[in-house]
């Protein structure tokens, strides 16, 4: 699986080398942005993987199956979407969390709703959105984003 990472890293390095010829200054700036975002994200990412470890060891798979499993499909879809809507953090963090939910027996549509609403619904960032766009826009956008997260989840389950 690390081959994917290696190929990706090589492609990025090639892109940096080619762009460096066009503009060393801009490329250095890119490198700096990359470094800054890595440093800024590092504590969050380490924490997420720490949580995944705890999650794996302390939360029994039966509990995940009961909350997010296929047997209570409608409820698990809603719970997946709600957890995603409340959580904040980089999407990079949503993927491994959803992966460990799936491993523990979560219903794929519930995990998909979790990922989509994690990224597109922001309950915690709602105040910022209200300030920038106004209340009606923020509420309408988040409500519709939440509904489509659930729908996308259901469709993924149906298509896969």
């Amino acid at each position: 699986m690390n081959n994917v990472a290696l190929i990706y890293l090589i492609l990025i390095t090639v892109a940096y080398t080619l762009l460096f010829r066009r503009s060393p200054e801009k490329t250095r700036q890119s490198l700096k942005v990359a470094q800054n975002s890595l440093v800024k994200l590092a504590p969050m990412l380490i924490a997420i993987f720490g949580l995944i470890g705890l999650f794996q060891v302390f939360i029994p798979a039966e509990l995940i199956q009961r909350w997010l499993g296929a047997s209570s499909s409608g409820m698990s879809l809603l719970i997946g979407g709600l957890i995603g809507a409340i959580a904040i953090g980089p999407p990079v963090a949503a993927f491994p969390l959803a992966g460990s939910m799936l491993d523990a027996g979560a219903w794929p549509p519930a995990a998909a709703a979790f990922v989509v609403s994690w990224i597109s619904v922001g309950v915690i960032t709602l105040p910022i959105e209200v300030e920038v766009f106004g209340l009606r826009f923020a509420l309408a956008r988040n409500a519709i984003a939440f509904a489509s997260a659930l729908l996308i989840g259901l469709l993924i389950g149906w298509l896969l």
């Binding site: 940096y16 890119s30 969050m44 309408a140 519709i144 984003a145």
Partner: protein, 179 residues
Amino acid sequence: MSAKRPSRAFSPWSLVRAQWLPLFTLLLYGWAFVVRPEQAGAALAYGAKAFSSVALLIVAVMGLVGLTQVWISRDAVARLLGREAGFKALIISALCGTVLIGPAYLIFPLLMSIHKQGARWAVIVTVLAAYAVKIPMIPLEIEFLGWGFSLTRSLLTILFAIPCGLAVEAIMEARFRND
């Protein structure tokens, strides 16, 4: 000694707000090591192993984030979305949304400025909906959730972006009729 302080006052509250998740995780581990040390050790080992398997990929993704932020200018994106009219603008905004990267608090003001330049509400919402695709992050998503899941999710997210945009726009315009 106690009177000596750094020029910028250090506030513990701002640290908690910025790093609440790492601190919360540390607390949980502290608790776990006290209550069940053996299982806490196993959890730590599991987390470390999972992290080391994707560390390289995370570095590569951040490299791409650096490239997109510097080489794709926000102004150019804004111009393209602001000037185009009709359905073409919606398709362009769906496509632009997929490559946009950065925290929402940076994207919101940018989109509001485009709206003030004359872009429809549907354009703004379509960008925000397509923004959930995160093309530069797809390798990481595939790593954890598999090809089928990731590609289906991305495709559906793009397909839903424009209808979502039109729906929110309808709500926004209904408000003006009422006023």
